[in-house]
Assembly symmetry: D2
Homo-oligomer: 364 residues x 4
């Protein structure tokens, strides 16, 4: 198969670097275009980047000459992954979309647009049908393939919704949901991200905008498509109440979340039924045979001191989510601990898996 | 004033070392007896202890010869602070009590006895009246002063109940209460406590027995004395539901808790009323002029990224509790972040302050 | 005694904040003027600063209105402590000096000027005679008191020279000296300082310019005044060879240094003689009765796993230096581990102690 | 090729677990026997072990029934990897050797026996000829293959000697050598290893016995075989002086060492010649095509802030060693920073690579 041509926007940043790592030796995509700020444009990537990943910079990327972030520079790309900062992503991603490009973005700018899918690929890939419908329609009408933006969810939202999706499918709506997060510092990027002196021997019980993102995004991701698949019906506050408390902790990678939830339908299932439901869940990407899809979508851990970020974050290369300590909750129905890899399933990796799903469905 | 004579059980352990530090230069108590295991007994304290505190071993304690943990060895003590491990505390503390000694214990063994006060000194010092009544009665009857045990609460319980007490006093009962803790490693002691390799770049989402302790102890501490002040009426599950999720994090000292609560009386007070109530609270120990009592019992912090353990744990020498991010909660009524110093107000320091209250009330 | 009036330049920065803490309730100095950038000038200090210290912002400083960093604004000051970044310190400190102000600076800009004393106050206070001589002369000539700059050494230099000074005094010159440092992150400031993701579970084996500073500054600090006390004679490479390797580690405060040294005079003293020499050393500031002077200048620790930053950095409030593991070295004569508090004796605290010495000697 | 049968002694411990991970899917060895203490013997491995690795327990090992550590239980093994604690290794390893088994041990017990090779496989594999000679001789004489022990070096010694070997080969003997180490906590095992409270925000400037091991082992590893290849001639103190200062730091994996060295032959080579020599070095294991051998034995890093443990420890899967900051030293000839993976090339991984070399040379 001829590989699809891929580009990365914001290639020198934290998320951009992750995209590059994940696209090295990818069977479906060939990364050809790297875009960054004018300061970097024109330089070889290796000279433009302050590489900060624990894996080495892949050879193939070293000598790619960095482009400006213009649609023209990316015109050969079948898919463009955007790791742009929110400060820059707005107009650039819009220009790319308007030029007919397929953009998968980690930025928050368009997440709340009603015709933009907000996708955790192991949870709500069906929201991508919003794009599929448009593309099919254009094809049917003999028009050019339309550009589009798909948004990756906030990193901590991904871990939160991962176990919810199978539970809702099997046991019906969740009416109350609380999460307290213990979030890794890698998600804050490195320019400068979280200062060392702020996080050593410390907790920062606040991440700007994060709680609101989690509470809102959950309602979109768990929402259903409308009849003509043109937009998502957000869950209302009457349908689900969500409360998040977010903390930054001294962990490099891996967001831990202590969640509690109550089902609308009472009495709720048993603890064992909840566990079985999560164990049995196979996400669509896995069914579609996507390259990066986890073998096991949700790992239900039985040891009482798991999941732990250092020991469990890399399950299924960071595409699998671990859930442990599933037990009854005296206040709501159940409580549990969820661990997800914030830069894989919570950011760049989600983008790659979304692209694989789009490819499997002939949307790109 | 002649100082009261004090002793410390379990003097070489983590809690015992803290007791010694807190009793150095204390205006009310003179520490004269240090008890430890047979392995240490007979040695000078400096030769028996592996001192691990950030403050140096006080000079006065260096040459005290360690005793066996027998009532005989402590007979001159007006008050005995117990930092014994739960494995040993049971029979030793009982023997001390039966010999007429006043024991203030950090061990969990007797916390659930109905005639043993379980006390967070800034929150429910009125439970000490159970002891006061017995002592007065003995005096009135011309009998010897009876021995007794007062239990210090679990460290994470102390932080949880600190803001609850003033709220309940002013706004009535709390019906639902959740807490997710991020607990320091100092609470686990150091023989060996939490291994470094387990906590570096990691979270351990489990502390054996801790969640049950928090859920149960809260119901005792918030309970009221019965008519003759002989025991505490525990709150029932119908009165308050409590749910705790406990995590160990890479913080040396200071437990952070993300709590949510719902009042029985609806509509609830406003956020501003909650804050004002906490700001206005003056604990009895402060009113009594106790030496270690916090100037400000509850610090209400307005910066959105506070409290933080490294920056706020030492407020009022660790006897004050910090509460921040007080805001409405979409699921319950309010959520907030509480920080308390686990080895001061959550352990040894609580013992000292309890003793100061007992002294102020002429119970010891 | 009427307190001397003090000012702080760079008051909102990391070093400036430390100066403010150390000047709170100081018996000799009253801090009246706080200078910062135009962005902060005109604001109350509490509104201008992002306070990051583990001690709370002292009340007295909260409402001081921040000034521009001009000599005019500081004209009433008997002494000005500069915590300015090297990027700004050059012209500002010069202007202050030229206006007749007494500046004690933590910046590196003037350290290598031959008529500027570079001082570790527990080690080479005699270099302050360069200033004393000028001031006496001006007085004798009926002239105005001249302005001057005294430079505080680099933080890691302070720890290195602390044990050397007594050794050189007693046993003669050191010919070879190596140090490998493990430096705390607080020294890097917080705008942004060392990023958390860079230092968690990591070592950074490089601190820009640090090794050169240590190697050069040691030769000035160990040098002697020339005959008319107008400048310092640097030690030459023939007199002492110094080699430093600097690392940043995940420690908040306290620089650890593994040093080795060889005396010029052979055979060298015994290990016990070295220890006794260090134990016996009493720095001039202590003899002069300076407020902040350490009771024990050098703490010789005998436990083989000490000094440790968390346990020993606060000895003598950070003004004392700890030396442990003094033993013979198979390559040079001796090796040992030195711990010094980088923000106290290595930065702001050194400035305060220098001022106290200047005051004791009637230079300010 | 039929795989050789392998066993692991001390299989439940830290080093044992690493051996199991490294033997999973190994092309040359099939791990069949796991030995541990009587407490574990008879249980399935998954029930006996407290698995603490960041990689999951390999499926194949889960159901292996743990054996006692007797030669009988391991009799089918072509090679036995020992991760036993030094407290137990002595008699067990001797019994295995005496029974004709081939033991590759991480324990320190036999490292100083003159007929036992002490091997860093990327540095002195030629010392294995001591075994090869015996085995050939036995074969030639028609005798049974003799049992033997090969000792893996101390973890910090491995990093130290890695760059020395090529330098000595090219530029002649090193006369003076100093190293200051910053060692990871994984090397201390986890029963309990380094307590978290001891290492958080801290340095421990002491590791029992480590400095002596480094100083002594270097002299054996850099020594040459005697004429009949029956033992190693240690370097004398006159030939090389070695001085080590060892520190424990808050790093999970990867030992950093700041080393300085002086060549016997003066003038020494240039910095560039030193770098080129290290870059050009290809270890024998790589030439032999051993499975785990590093592609690049020594990585010479040019960025001035490298190597860093988090970013560089996994080069060549932990079998490659990184060297950075090679520069002239004012005291000796050169200084540099070396990073090696303490549990791979410094422990279990070294054992595996030694076995691969032995296999390539038909010794097992």
């Amino acid at each position: 198969m001829v590989k699809k041509v891929a580009g990365v926007l914001g290639a020198t940043g934290s998320v951009g670097q992750r995209f590059i790592l994940l696209l090295a030796d990818h069977p479906d995509f060939e990364l050809k275009v790297l875009g960054a700020s004018s300061r970097s444009a024109g330089k070889k990537y290796i000279d433009a980047v302050n590489w900060k990943q624990t894996d080495l910079l892949p050879k193939f990327a070293e000598s790619i000459v960095v482009s400006e972030c213009t649609p023209e520079a990316f015109k050969e790309c079948d898919v463009v992954f955007s790791g742009l900062d929110a400060d820059y992503a707005g107009p650039i991603e819009k220009a790319f979309k308007d030029s007919g490009l397929a953009v998968i973005s980690n930025a928050k700018n368009y997440r709340r647009e009603e015709d933009v899918p907000l996708v955790v690929p192991i949870s709500n890939p069906e929201h991508l049908e919003m794009i599929g419908t448009k593309v099919s329609k254009a094809k049917a009408e003999g028009k050019e393939k339309p550009g589009f933006i798909v948004c990756i969810s906030n990193c901590s939202t991904a871990g939160l919704v991962a176990p919810l999706k199978p539970l809702v499918e099997k046991f019906g709506p969740i009416s109350l949901l609380t999460t307290t997060t213990l979030q890794a510092i890698s998600g804050a990027g490195f320019s400068p991200g979280v200062p060392g002196i702020d996080i050593l021997d410390n907790i920062i019980p606040y991440i700007g905008g994060e709680e609101d993102k989690m509470e809102w995004e959950t309602k979109k991701i768990l929402g259903s498509l409308n009849a003509d698949k043109s937009k998502v019906n957000l869950l209302s506050d009457d349908e689900i109440k969500v409360s998040a408390q977010c903390n930054r902790v001294a962990v490099s990678d891996g967001h831990t979340e202590c969640i509690s939830l109550k089902f609308k339908n009472q009495p709720p299932p048993s603890v064992e039924e909840v566990k079985q439901c999560l164990r049995d869940y196979v996400c669509d990407a896995t069914k579609l045979g996507c390259h990066s899809a986890p073998k096991q979508t949700i790992h239900v851990l039985e040891q009482n001191d798991r999941p732990q970020p250092r020991l469990d974050r890399n399950r299924d290369n960071g595409y699998g989510v671990s859930v442990g300590r599933i037990r009854e909750d005296p206040v709501l129905d159940f409580k549990m601990v969820v661990l997800s890899h914030n830069t894989i399933i919570g950011a760049a990796g989600a983008g790659i898996l979304i692209a694989e799903i789009l490819l499997a469905k002939n949307i790109i």
